[in-house]
Symmetry: D2
Subunit: 336 residues, 4 copies
């Protein structure tokens, strides 16, 4: 039988559970070796369910020489320090987004990863969505010629709890960060300047917490193209995730995913299915694909699909967008 | 200014009014000259509204040497005798479908038309629908290769009054006749054999009147292709008119027409517009196109788009379908 | 017969011809009375084709007491002076967009129209498109709740000649002006601030002429909503005209219009029709609807659907957008 | 950890491999215990790949008391005898379709299964397709009222090899059998009478082998509804699998599945993705769902979703359809 990659999952919250379960059931070349969580009951529950050892101390995972790689699924503030420790321990690293909110801390991770020569993949799972991947490939193959306009619509089905909003770092670094990665992925170019306008239209408490819940971000790319992202924390009809790339030879759009392809006709109207409710449903296959891609990159010693630099750039854009929004929409250069 | 075709409209019922109004407003090369209806108040109302002379006796129209052509929009039983009189009077003829329910009477019309050398067009307006016309053209141009399967879905939004059903000649000659024309138009081949099954599922009184309200008709074409038509007297969501032609190199489908192209997303669902309600809405442009085509054929002395033979064949198929249905679905040859 | 509105058309260019033909053939309550064009052969050709009197001097139309209304279809620089003269002559006025590029001149028109008590309608034909009209009505009826985001995609199939670009006043006042009207129409609110970024990606000569051919404009509305418009002078697949309004209770989108509703399946792919090529095809029915609406407003002494103030506001927004774009995308308040 | 169902797979051909792989990777409550194939190298290859024991003699599986259930994936002629042996051995049985071509042999299976009290599920995987399942549920819940018309379009992307056609039992029992199951599933009623017309339009050699490659089957249901199936052995654009159920309160349709939801616009046209190529792609998730359903039924001692009687009825309909087609389309009662 082929060699499998032995993996420890650090963090047994929602996303840690998701990865751990997929690694067991959907990633044939992975072998889940251990689970850790600072809250031991969470580690225990998941470890027992999946039949692997568990611990409250992730250092046990880092110190286990039989473990090849880690999935860092702990709270955001621990991503960069654990990344550095894991790199020093020689583990390949899959890190949930964002690496950090602080550019210097991210750069320190990049340095350490480079020094250690380990693989590093950031959890921008949407790149593995079948629709966005296809758009990326068509654009890359020249199918729409030179890119002129990139558009991303990204709306959550419901706003997170206020407690979450307060520690989230704000909509740009928490939510739009996925879209900042997406526009880089789709355009094949770096974002040089952004301007952002925001408003608090969904829930005034979000505004009182110093954040916005609705925003539009305009982008200028290094290759001359323009872009626009629109976000809302609440689309009552479900998770609205669409993209469009327009260029000199054409345009390609990606529509939402739905539970099925039926159409229902009655005297009241003609009804299609709503988009899948949220990211766990919409990006289920994308999560599995990113996990498989990471495992393959580690086993075959190839580049990861979403490298450490890809974790740095969206944070830079998010910082610029936040500044622009706070200053009423003035254009802000993305720090190089 | 270019010469216009002077036209008399015989019959001022629903379809006569429609043609008369279009001839005045939407057919630039037509000049409405007169209206007749055996029920004089109807003729008077329409004539006064449109500012043309009117009469209870259509012979006044046939005897008017300044009139070039007639639209026969009177009751079905008068179509063939008036067609013959009009041909003898040297008028070009646009005749609503069906020419007659009796094959011999239709053949008599064909003979007289041929002898008189006048133009004859039958009111199979659906051939002028932008969707079906495009399907016809793609098929004719070889776009789907050899035709293998022709499918027509044709459902009315609501059943006609029972009084109408009783004198209609039955669903096959009254309703399916349009579909029999359509399959000839789309396949480019003659129907050789049909088998039909019917049921009374919408309104039991239709069954008591000796008719069916739901049916499926299977067809064999001279070129070897197969076909199927499904009909219902009542689709509660509106007029359902779709076709599909499948062949050795592909398939082409035509969907319904809707009031607009919007999509509406709410927490309850995703809603598209229902099909246009009935034939006056759906085929409005098709009526105008068939009228213009007739006027052009008369003025330019070219073939009409839907000739007298095209009026004969669907009746032949309808007669065979009715026999098949009455005999429980046995295959019946279409009389040659 | 009902009274008809006697109309003189001033300007026999492309748009003047379109209106004159429609007034004759598609607007039952209109009577085309005269045509004028400073280039007399153009006036003559159109007048003779349509069988009405013609002149090189539009004052003949203004001085004709039998004429009730004028359509001002002459060059943009003449719109405001002729509007003022026509108002003084007591004629109802349909004026092509924009009224002027200069706010003071537009205000002078508004004053004169008010003083004269004549009807004034601006040629924002897209409000009469069946799709956008439906979106407007759903939004107005509260169908999507409070408006949060308004999106307009508006791309021409091909760039105009450079000679036209040079005198057009720039993309914002020439092309985006329709979209500025549309966002007001769809949002039901005034635009307070805009920021615009532009690029020259289609044709460098447009840049040399001091204009851009691709742009994205972000908008802030008085009711708190945000908006975004994206424009391109060249969409190789045809005229791309879509809108989307997103709010607290849902979202409504309007897709393009196509020549028909067929789908074509072959070994190479599944093909749908491209959007209708350009505005004459796409907005044909909208032109007819706006003409009928104007005639009705004049005959029934009701408000026009697109009043003089609706002609002023988009120019104000366009001026702000131009300034923002020239200053690299800084936010600019719309002059009140 | 929960108890797992220990399963032996009999037959290591295409479908046996598919089930064995899914049981290992996608059915958490299943444990693959053994593989058998009369061609030992096939059994060995699959057994070694999946790390389970293998044998050329399926009796080893039947005699292994640690094995709870079997998947019968061997050649069609062995389905009924192995079913009987497996039932006698007290194994739960998942049997690929058809159970047999001979009604008496199927009935013998039903008897034995009943006597043994084991679970029996037939491999009508399409019932587990997300689209058809949703249509079934809407119809069952009364969403379209009384069923009037059931339509199934079912076309393969390419004809099987002639060698296969010759031993297939003919199109009705080999290909349409899935559609006969589908119409029962969707209508919720038994088929009482069928009439079928067929033609050889794809490949004349299929005709020489005594079969047809294109057919249309009309159905009458016990509840009064009508139905129609159209089949082709070759749709060059891919696997075409659509259904429609029309009734007194509405209609519901299910469209094909595609690789993604993108739309591509160029000067040449607007392109959507083709349907997924064939059943392995289209019904991948449906296979997994049916396997999970079988395992659940066995572990929880509940009814299987597709019982032995569901394996009998489609063969009865296929036999009637074949007779009708051979007799030129006369209606044939389905044997009760």
């Amino acid at each position: 039988m082929d060699r499998k990659l032995r993996i420890g999952v650090i963090g047994a919250g929602r996303i840690g559970k998701l990865h751990a379960n997929n690694l067991v059931n959907r990633v044939p070349k992975a072998e889940l070796a251990a689970i850790s969580d600072v809250y031991e009951p969470a580690a225990k529950a998941l470890g027992e369910q999946l039949g692997v050892k568990y611990t409250a101390d992730y250092h046990e995972i880092l110190n286990d020489p039989s473990i090849d790689a880690v999935f860092i699924c702990s709270s955001t503030d621990t991503h960069s320090p654990i990344s550095i420790e894991a790199a020093k321990a020689g583990k390949h690293i899959f890190c949930e987004k964002p690496i950090d909110h602080d550019l210097d801390k991210i750069k320190a991770v990049l340095d350490e990863v480079k020094k250690a020569g380990v693989k590093y993949q950031v959890g921008f799972n949407r790149r593995f969505d079948r629709n966005f991947k296809h758009v990326h490939e068509v654009v890359k193959a020249g199918g729409i010629g030179d890119v002129h306009i990139v558009k991303v619509t990204s709306r959550d089905p419901e706003a997170p709890p206020l407690s979450y909003v307060k520690v989230s770092g704000g909509i740009f670094v928490d939510m739009t960060i996925h879209d900042f990665d997406m526009v880089r992925y789709l355009s094949g170019s770096e974002v040089e300047e952004v301007s952002a306008v925001g408003a608090c239209l969904v829930n005034p408490e979000i505004g009182e917490a110093g954040d916005v819940d609705t925003c539009i971000i305009t982008l200028k790319f290094a290759n001359g193209a323009l872009g626009v992202i629109d976000n809302s924390r609440q689309a009552v009809y479900g998770y609205d995730q669409r993209v469009e790339v327009f260029g000199s030879k054409g345009c390609i759009t990606a529509d939402n995913e739905t539970p099925n392809n039926t159409t229902y006709y009655t005297a009241e109207g003609v009804t299609k299915e709503k988009p899948l409710w949220f990211f766990l449903e919409r990006y289920n296959d994308a999560f599995i694909a990113e996990e498989n891609a990471f495992v393959d990159a580690c086993l075959n010693d190839t580049e990861t699909a979403v490298g450490a630099f890809d974790g740095l750039q969206p944070v830079r854009i998010a910082i610029a967008a936040k500044e622009s929004c706070e200053k009423g929409g003035i254009p802000v250069k993305v720090q190089g």
